[in-house]
Structures are given as structure tokens and as C-alpha cells.
């Protein structure tokens, strides 16, 4: 399928139908323009694109230097035969002493380009046809389109207000009418000689209330209980940071990584599998992917956070890790990132991630909430002892398939005739299991 040309991300969920339309429109335009250029060449750019993405995209980008040079218009720089030789086996060409080849090698060594003897001449032509396609400017129409869409939304808002206003007006008119009707009727009654009796002065409500001691007592009790309830509630939330959502030095979006791209939590938080800490991934883990992802796709941007914003955040990563995008190398000037810790347990509580993640096979989301939807992570759970204990009481121990539990399981089922036990029944609510 025709996908967004500028995206290197494998899986992009199209969340925004507008951008999808734009994408298709853009690709449509692209298709026409490339076909215009492709007429004098043998290759098929559409075929070439899929080949490019399969074989080349890991190291090359059309317009940007990566591990290898930018490839747009490469067919104009070198002759076709040379390129075919180079692609099939660059090292052989370099060793043969070819001047052009040696020059490129000098620039990019020690990165050796993978040899692709499996590519046919036609394949290479297709790829080259794709690389020769001119860069597509952002069509102005899209911007205009976006604007009209916004305008439409704005109109919708105005419509609601008008309806509301009209309703208020109607009700107001009704009130006035009722008042007038009442006045007229009264006048008619007076004219007819009906006499209204003088109203007796009644005891004010508050005096009646004060005189009724029972009522006073009941309300005082009620008030005391209510204030105790709220005071208790207030004190119980002291030190509970549920919903804590600090601003991080780099705006890292779990929505993009874990949600849109479906990266497994434990790819980055790998120590959660074996250690007590889930671990904040070191920056070299980020660079596993971001070495070749210097910018986000158009669709990744949202109304709140623009593409430029996200690209800026990636640039912050590069600065911290000391990655020179221009020359595709590490400068060695690193700068540690001081993340703000969100989930804080007191020192006297011991928590081990691997116990819960690996042994208990509990999904991260159980405690951390729908992390894959969080643009900015917040503390989902209260992390109070009651919350921990509750889960220990409700969760069954995952015994099946674990050799460690075999004996315990046998004994339990023999003694109590049960198949399943909760963590609490196995001692997970004992104080010193978490406090030592």
C-alpha cells in the first residue's frame, strides 16, 4: 500500500482521518510526479520503494545522511553500471581501487555496506527509480484544508451557543408573560371586589430551628460526623500522590511508543524482568531505534503537540546522548538526564518488580494504568499499603508451569483440596515480606 513517504516507523495507526486523506492526496501527487520523471528510466518507482524499505532504509534515507549517505538523486551522481556493482558488492569495488568507491569508503568507513548480490539489475533499477523521484513539497492545499476543517469545528461551537441563547430568551419571555398574566388577573380580581386577607407574621425558619433542640442535636452530630469524614479523608491522602504528573526534562510520550508503536514495556524497562527496579532505560537503549528515527511522522503530531515539538524532544535526546546527527556519530559529550521519579515508595517498603512481572505474570497496566494511552505519565495507583494488600488478597498465585511451586501445590491440594490460593494465603500479607 502507499504509505507516508517520510515515515520510517513500521506501524503507524492512523488516528486522524484528516491526515489520512492528506497522506493519500500527497501520495497521489507523488505518484504522478514520479511517473513523469520515470518515463525515461527502466525502473518502477513503486516497486523500488518497497525494495528500498526492505533493504536500504535501515542505513539510508532519501534526504538525510544516516549510516550511509542520502540517496535522493544518487542515479544522477554515479553511472548506473557503477551503482549496480557497488550495490552488489561495495567492498569488492573498493578493493579494486575504483576512485569513486574509495572516496565514499573514506568518508563512511568503518561502516561496511552490506552486499546485495540477491538484487537483480531490474531491482536495482527500480530502487534507483524510486530514489530519483523529486522531493515532494508540502502541498499548500493541505494547509488550507486543515484550516477549513478547523473553521468547521468552530462553526459547530457557535451553533450550540445560539441554540442555548435562543432557549434562554424563550424562557425569559415565558417568565415575563406569566408575571404579566398574574398581574392582570389580580387587577381583574380587585376590580371584581375580591379582598385578599392580610397575611399573618410567621416565626422565621431559623428561630424555629433553634427552638427544636432535637433537630439541633441531630444536625450537630451530622456536621461533626461529616467534618470528621472529610478530615479523615484529607489526612489519609497526605503522602498519597495518586495522579502525580510531573513535567519531565524530555517529553517522552508513552502513547507514541507503547501505544501507537506497540513497543513492549520490557523492551526498555528490561530490568523489571529480573530486578527489583523496573529501571529507567539508559539513553543507549533509546538510541537503538532513534539512531534512525530523528523525527516523528506527520501523523504522530496531535492538536496539542506539533511535529516540531516532538522533533525538538528527540533533539534533546541527541544532545544528552551526544549524537551528532549531521555526521552520524557520537561526540562523546554526554549529559545525564534527570528524570523526575513518579512512583515513590517509602524506604521501609520493599518492592520487587521481577516478583510481580515475571513470577506473578501481572501486566504492567495493573498498577501503572493504561500507560499506552498516557501522553504524560501520571501515578495511576495510590500506592498505599491498603492497595497493595488488597491485591495480594485477591490475586491467585500463578503456580502452573513453575517448578518451584510444584511441591507446595501438591501439599496444598492434598491438605486443603484446593487448586488455587491467593498470594495472601501463601504469606504475602506478612509484615516482613515487604518491610525489612
Amino acid at each position: 500500500m502507499i504509505d507516508n513517504t517520510y515515515s520510517n516507523m513500521k506501524k503507524v495507526v492512523h488516528r486522524n482521518s484528516i491526515s489520512r486523506i492528506l497522506g493519500i492526496g500527497l501520495a497521489f501527487l507523488l505518484f504522478f510526479t514520479t511517473s513523469l520523471f520515470a518515463q525515461d528510466q527502466a525502473g518502477d518507482p513503486a516497486e523500488g520503494k518497497s525494495l528500498f524499505n526492505t533493504y536500504c532504509a535501515a542505513c539510508h534515507h532519501l534526504d538525510r545522511k544516516m549510516t550511509g549517505p542520502a540517496l535522493r538523486g544518487v542515479a544522477e551522481k554515479h553511472d548506473r553500471e557503477w551503482l549496480q556493482k557497488w550495490i552488489k558488492n561495495s567492498q569488492a569495488l573498493i578493493k579494486s581501487g575504483d576512485e569513486e568507491a574509495v572516496k565514499i569508503w573514506e568518508e563512511y568507513k568503518p561502516a561496511v555496506m552490506t552486499a546485495f548480490p540477491q538484487l537483480s539489475d531490474q531491482d536495482i533499477d527500480n530502487i534507483l527509480a524510486y530514489t530519483s523521484a523529486p522531493k515532494e513539497e508540502k502541498p499548500a492545499a493541505d494547509v488550507a484544508g486543515a484550516k477549513t476543517a478547523e473553521g468547521g469545528a468552530a462553526q459547530g461551537g457557535v451553533g450550540n451557543e445560539i441554540i442555548l441563547g435562543a432557549l434562554i430568551l424563550v424562557f425569559g419571555v415565558l417568565v415575563v408573560m406569566l408575571f404579566l398574566v398574574n398581574k392582570t388577573l389580580r387587577r381583574i380580581a380587585e376590580a371584581n371586589g375580591v379582598v385578599f386577607p392580610e397575611q399573618e407574621k410567621r416565626m422565621p425558619l431559623w428561630k424555629a430551628f433553634v427552638k427544636n433542640q432535637f433537630l439541633v442535636l441531630v444536625s450537630v452530630i451530622f456536621l461533626l460526623l461529616a467534618s470528621a469524614y472529610f478530615a479523615f479523608g484529607y489526612f489519609m491522602q497526605v503522602g498519597v500522590d495518586q495522579g502525580y504528573q510531573p513535567i519531565q526534562p524530555i517529553h517522552y510520550s508513552h502513547r507514541i511508543h507503547a501505544g501507537d508503536n506497540g513497543i513492549d514495556c520490557k523492551y526498555c524497562h528490561s530490568s523489571a524482568r529480573t530486578s527489583k527496579h523496573s529501571g529507567i532505560p539508559s539513553l543507549n537503549v533509546c538510541m537503538n531505534c532513534h539512531k534512525s528515527i530523528p523525527e516523528v511522522a506527520e501523523e504522530t503530531a496531535t492538536a496539542e503537540y506539533s511535529k516540531e515539538f516532538y522533533d525538538g524532544e528527540i533533539a534533546k535526546l541527541y544532545k544528552a546522548v551526544g549524537w551528532d546527527v549531521e555526521n552520524q556519530r557520537y561526540t562523546g559529550e554526554t549529559q545525564a538526564v534527570e528524570w523526575v521519579r513518579i512512583h515513590n515508595l517509602p524506604d521501609f517498603a520493599y518492592f520487587n518488580h521481577s516478583q510481580h512481572v515475571t513470577v506473578g505474570r501481572i501486566a504492567c497496566q495493573e498498577c501503572h494504568g493504561p500507560i499506552q494511552e498516557m501522553e504524560i505519565v501520571h501515578q495511576e495507583a495510590p500506592l498505599t499499603m491498603g492497595w497493595c494488600i488488597n491485591c495480594h488478597r485477591e490475586t491467585n498465585v500463578k503456580m502452573e508451569g513453575n517448578e518451584y511451586y510444584k511441591k507446595i501445590h501438591e501439599e496444598l491440594s492434598k491438605k486443603y483440596g484446593v487448586e488455587e490460593v491467593t498470594a495472601a494465603q501463601l504469606g504475602a500479607t506478612e509484615c516482613a515480606k515487604c518491610h525489612y
Binding site: 530486578s275 528524570w339 515513590n344 518451584y404 496444598l412 515480606k433
Partner: protein, 1040 residues
Amino acid sequence: MASNKKYWSSVEELNPNSSIAETLKQNEFVEEIPNDEFLGDKDSLGSSSTSRRDFLKYVGFSTAAASLAACEGPVKKSIPYVVQPESIIPGKANYYATTIADGYDFASILIKTREGRPIKVENNTDAKVNGGANARVHASILGLYDSMRVQGPKANGEYVSWEDLDKSVMAGLNSANAAGKQIVLLTQTYASPSTKKLIAEFSSKFGNVKHVQYDAISEDAALNAFEASYGTRALADYDFSKAEVIVSFGADFLGDWQGGGFDSGYAKGRIPSEGKMSRHIQFESNLSLTGASADKRIPLTASQQKVALAKFYGFLNGKSVGGELPAKVEEAVKNAAAQVARAGRNAVVVTGINDVDAQKVVLSINETIGSVVVDTENPRYTRQGNAAQVNALVKDMNAGNVGVLITSGVNPVYSLPNAAEFEAGLSKVGLSVAFSLKEDETAAKTGYIAAAPHYLESWGDTEIKKGHYGLMQSTIRPLFNTRQFQDSLLKWMGSDVSYHDYIKDAWTSSILGGSSWGSALHDGVFVGSGNVIAEENSEETSETTTDAEPVDSVNAEAAVASVATAVRNLSGATTKGMELVLYPKTSMGDGQQANNPWLQELPDPITRNTWDNYITISLADAESLGLENYTVSNGGLNGDYVKLTVNGVVLDKVPALIQPGQAKGTIGLSFGYGRSLGVKEEMKTGVNAYPLYVGFNNTQEVKIEKVSGTHEFASVQMKSTMDGRNDILRETSLEIFNTKNSHEWNPQPEVSVNHQEVPIAEADLWTKFDSSIGHHFNLSIDLNACTGCGACVIACHAENNVPVVGKSEVRKYRDMHWLRIDRYYSSEETFDGDAAKVEAAPNSISTYHELEHPSENPQVAFQPVMCQHCNHAPCETVCPVAATSHGKQGQNQMIYNRCVGTRYCANNCPYKVRRFNWFLYSENDEFDFHMNDDLGRMVLNPDVTVRSRGVMEKCSMCIQMTQKTILDAKREGRVIKDGEFKTACSAACSTGAIKFGDVNDKESEIVELKENNRMYHLLGFKGTQPNVFYHTKVRNTEEA
């Protein structure tokens, strides 16, 4: 029988009129809560302008302010690695094998690191020699984070760069070379093949280089004797596990004798199996660890020991030897000789007498009986110091013959007996450089201080015993701008090779013999066939080698003749007046770790005193000198001061401690105290005994007189009495053990239920905890194997972040040790004599009074006591907030965050194992120990809470370790094997006295131990059903 015995643990208890002992029995906490201290005195309160109302206002305001401030949590930052090292996973420990070789302690160990920080020392069980770390080695990790360390090279007190230092040193070396002056390397014993090789290369490069090795506490006599007999300057190795009879003349081989490390072998032979255990006879002056473990101990003065040894030789060889000995002693010597003769090659004789003749005689005896215990083929290299060379050096220095003096790992200005001469000589040396961790006494006097890295930051290798190699690897990048001695030598030789590469080359070419360097580094030890040190040693001593090596008849005759002379010399030993016997203390050793608060606070196994050294003196001598020890109202022990004069050297104001078992006519004094530089103010404790160590001889004639003043000791034993409950310690003799039913010598407590005696476990008031499913932990302590070495105490400190409280707090019995090793004296010289006395007049009060009289030579037993983790714990039922509760796995759990500090639990604990945090011991300037500085806190175990003020704490049975073992098994989906469960103390115990395991695993060793007929529970009659059990001590009292 066992319950008939009366134990006492301090002299004060034996005084029937002592109100102190009585008060202490009644009160768990010796002192009242210091209300007055807290409130201040009345006068200043009265004169204060702050009225009670004002005070309440302030309190109200500050409470409100504090609670408001508390509502906002602090922002915590988390900083991950930029590039995470592959081997480090945050939250998981890594272990590296390395070797400590600080010149005094040599051991193959594992270092536990967390996030790259070394935090604990573990035993390296792969090592065949010295794989068990002692208390000092366990504590050495704290030396890495010592805030007094010198942080970079210094010249005349100012920090300089290494380049500057190199320039000056090279200039100095060249000019010394040109002027024909000596270049002297004065070093510790390295026992390192690579260092040896390197120094040889350095010597050949510069010429006129002398390498002088120096041990602060010398084994010179033993080395000389061994060299004369076997040609190598080394020490015989002993495997005491093979010994049936051990006779020791003043050798503290369970302590630091000849480098130590013999205790695990010894303990193996001490556990009765198939009715047999070794017999150990000890002749000694000071009551040592070894004497405490002996079956028969004969207190003798040092000169009497010599005579006894000579007589022993005579009895063994059927020759008559002169010399005067008391008849009883002579009888004992004769007996010992007969037993050795009977055991033949399964016997061994050792001596710690600092005398070449004595050492020669012992070597000859062992050779004659063909002892299988002794290994002279593969000797030890753990002591290399040469007294003659050191003395020659001091002379040369004073004569101005020394151009360059480079010291490494030694502190002669502190530890040389003739330190003043050395200091005078030092000023005449052209260039002096000290490789030192601290700006210590020596470093302060040398021109340059070359900041040396801690052994955990260094590379190195060792050959502790011939063919047994060890590698030292750095476990952390150097914390400071340091460079090790060997790297510096390489640099000064103009080499670009690092010492690490140098070792690797040396090992690949001559030691490994094709084996992998990587696996040697991983294991930390390597057993090879080659022998690098000896080869070079034999070059140095080529004359003796050629003489002694061939065992021809002529030499053999000469040897016999020389032994005869030696025996004659020994038998003539006499002394006038008192003898001073200098000894290294278990905690402090030679004193290089004086700035280590863990060691300062480690109670001496025998005297149970901390933070001090003192003379130990027998009661009879003390009485004749008018010296007194007495307990004052706060429970602290006070004593008199004495003045010691040895050979004109005076040591004033030495505290005197009355020590049962001290040989009459002798006093003991330990090395390692009285440091003045490079240690914190709090650690400047005790007196320096080295000036009395004249001629590197540990026995000296001494003049002793009482001087004025009162010394305050910080002793911990008084508190550890079991309130007169005498069933705490059980022991029996091998004969009874072998012949009688265990009901007689180890009766299990019974109670009467429905007029029927039933075992106490069956009569139960409480509902039982169901521990049948899952794990149920038990800890076993074998009193036969425990030597009282204290390694477990320090390991417990390191594992559990146990705070150090300081001398004045220890004196108030506020020590925080979770694990203590109680030392009990018996009231009779032998167990049988004690029992016989009771049998003669049972139930007579006068008998018990007599039993309370201190013996001149008591039997000693050690008993490690930690929380007993009772299944029916008295502490649990009295806690008003349920801060201590019971776990299914058998642990009695202590929850700090729940504790409100009522201390009811401590009051109700019959074992007195609970410790109260009277103060905040971390980040508190009042307790300026390692937990008060950022550097020192790096040693803390991140898995264990640092307790705050006002909470109770105690042994947790290392629940963090058992939980980790369980989690690892769960994660890997496997069954836990026997032996995987460990506590810090059981892992540290190299004698096998402390064993830990899961009693629900019916195949496990702990079940076997629990079913052993020696098993008993501490105060079992109380029905607390502890999860810690003990094994009755058995003594081999069999005379020949």
C-alpha cells in the same frame, strides 16, 4: 548434669554483695530514661523567659507548620546511565572474586557489589587455602569508604599532580644511583609473585636497590627456623582437620598466629563424629581464642612455656631435660607428650614462642613423629618480614646511606619498636615516598605521600601457599586520584605497561600453564604446580639452600645437634619479675584498620571489651599490686591505671583489666591501638604497645606499677548474663557423650500434663503456627565448632546496616549488635571437677557459693546469640501495636515503621536480643562514624532499611537473603537446593558452626542437625520453641 553447672560471665556477678549485678538482673535497661538530660536542669529552666504557655504555643505552631510542610512530598530525581554497562542491572548484586593481602590478612574472598559499589565481603568457597574471611577482612570493605583517606599525591602537605611526583621521584632515583646511595623499598609482605618479579626488574634497572619486607607483628623467629631447616623463608602449613592431638605452646592458631586461617580445619576435627574428636592441649600466658577452645589449658609464663617445650621434647624422645617447672605442670607436659606419642603421625605440635630455638624444636618434633598435619613441602608465604634487614635499614638510614626510601603498606613510625630512630633516620634520607591510604604517622613524616588505592580498587596477585595462587581485581574504579605501588614502579622504570597487563603476562607465561586467565580471574584462585616466590627466595638464600636441601647423614646429624642445643637453651629460660606478653587483638590486628568503627566496636571475644586496649592481669597479681576492677552504678566497668616500663621505655596510664585465666606473673597487652594520625578523633583509642615490642619479641620483662586515675571500660558482657538461668550453655565430656544416653547429658525439657511428663513442645498454651507448607527456616549453632572469631558479627553489621554507637554508648549497654557472641567462664578448672563438687553436696547453698568463686584457669565457652525466632515468641504477645509478628516461614518479624518504641518486647525477651535505637545513628554529627558521611554510607545495603530513632530492632534471620533466594528460584522456575538458603552469619562462618536451612526440606542438612542428639534449645523449658537451636559442647577430657 549440664544444668548443675554454674556459669558466670563477669567478676562482679560473683560478688554476693554486689548490688549492681542484682540490679542488672532486674532491669533490662541499665539506665533510666534520661529525662533530666532531655529537659535540662531546673535552674536554667526557672531563669528562662519562656513560660509554659509560650512553650505550648511554640509546640502548637511548630506542629502545625511541620504538618503543613509534610503535605508536600519532595521531588525525587532519578538519573539513569547514559550508556549502561552490560554487567550492571540496577537492583541486582554482582559478585567478584578477589584477594585481600594487606600484609596482615590474606584471604580469598568474594565482593558483593550493588550498582557498582562494593558493599560486602563473602567467603570464597572455591579457595582451598584461606577462603574464610575473618572479622577484619569482613570489615575491610569499610576502609574503601574511609573519609580519612588521602585523596591524591601530596608533597609537603600539599596536593600535587602525579606528573610532579614522578618527576621528583625519578630525579631522586637517578641522583641516588649516581651518588651510589641505596634505594630501599620498605614494603609489607605481599606474597605476590608478580610484585616479586617486578621488584627484581626494578632492582636490575636501578641497581643498588634493596627490598626490605616488614611485618608489624613479626614471625621472624618462625621464618628463620623454617629457613634453617627447609631452605625457604616461609612458614609451615597446618591442616588441623587431620589432627587427633594438638599441643600448642603459646600459639594462638585460631587467632592471627602465622597469618591465621587455620580455624576452619581445626573446627572440622572438633565436631565429634563416630565417637571421636581431636584433643587439644594449650600452654599459654594470655587467655587466647585458642586457649578458650582447648580441652586442657595450662596457664604458664612465657619462660615457663620454653621450659615446658624443652621438657616436652625430652619426654617425647626419652631424654631427661633440665629446667624448673611446677610439679603439676610437669605432669601435664608429660601427659601431653604421652598423648602425642600415642597419636604418632596424627598429632601435631605448634608454638607461638618468638624464639628460633623453640620454633626449631617444634619443627623437629613434627618431623620426628612424621605429623600428617604439617605441610613443609608447600609452605605459606603470608609472613615474609625480616627483622634483621629492618634493623639494618634503620642503621643505614641513620648513617646517611639511603638515598631513596619508598614505603608501601607499612607504617613504621607507628609500628616499629624503635620508631624514634627510624624517624631520625628518615630525615637523613634524600627522598622519601610513602604509598599509603591515609596520611598516617609515617606518611606525615615522608617527603611525598603517594596516595595508594584500597585493595578493592587495585590489581594484584598472591601466592598464599606454594602453588595456591590468588588474583586481586579492582571491583570499583578508584574513588580518588590514587595509583598503586606496582603501577608506580612500572612508571618509574619507564614502562608503559599497566600492572594489570603485567600480572596477566606474568601469569600467562609462568603460572597458568595453558589454563585460561579469564577463568582464573573469575574464580579468584588458581592451584598451579609452579612456584614463583620460592624460586626467587631460594636465589636470595642460596647458601642455606645448598646446605639444607640434601638430606644426607651429615646434615641430619648436624640438625639433631642443633636441636639439642636449642632444647638446652630453652630449658635454661628464666625470668625475673613480671612478663609482658604482647598479642594482636581479634578486632584490631596490627592496627592498620584502626579507623574502622565496626572493628572498634567489635567486642573482644575474651574480655568482651570494645574501643580499647588494656593490660590483662591475673586476679592474684592484681591483688598484690592493689589493682581493682569494679562496676559503677550505670553498669559500666571501671579499672585502675598502671605504668609499664620495658627496657627503659615507659608506657603510662595503661588501663588494667582483671582476666581470669591469665597466667600468674604475666600481663597481656594488645597491639593495634594508640594510633595518632590518619584516624578520626573517636578512633584514637587505647595505647600504642609497639614501643614495648623490643627486638620484635612478643615477651618482655616488664616493671609494672599502679598509677592514679580511673579508666572507664566499655564492656558488653555484663548485660549478656542470662539472669542466673544456668541452662543456657550445655556441655559434656567426650567420654560421657560416647557412653551415656543423651537424656543424661542433654535432657530435653519436659512438663507435667495430667500427671504425665511430656516434652515441652506437646504442652502448648498457644495455637500453633502452621509452617508445614512452604519453607520453615532454622538456624543451627554448634558450640563445638564456634571459636568465637567474630566474623559473623561483622558480616551481620555489613548485611543489615547495623549502626555503630560509640564507646560511651556501649558503656551504657546501648550497643546495637544483632548478633553477640557470649563468652562464659566456668567456675571449676575442669568440667568433671565441677560436677563432682555438686554431687558431693547437692542442694547445698555453700556448694553453689563455692561454685561462684572465680577459677584461676576457667573453662571458656562461646555462644553466639541472636534473635531465637521463637515459634511462641514472648515479644509478640506484648507489643501494643503489633509491630512484631510471626511469619509462616518461622521468622519473628520486626516492623520498624510500625514500632512506636514502647520497649515492652525487649523487656519480655528472655534472650535479650532486642536492640533499641536510642538515637538517630545515621546522618547525625553526634555519631560521627561511617553513617555520618556520604562516602561511608555507600557501604549500606540498599535492601535493608536504615532504622531511625525510637524503634526497636533485632536479627531478622536475614529475611532479605531468604526472600532473594526464593525469588530467584521462582523466577527461574526451579526447586531450591539444600544449602542455597543462607544468612549473613552462616555464610560468614568458615568453621561451620552456624548452619542455616529449611526444615521442611526433609533431605536437608539442617534436619539432620536438628535430629542430632546434641541439639538443644536455649532456655527450652520456657516453651518458646525457638527456630534457632544449639549443639551441646563436647570436650575431649581424656587424659593419656
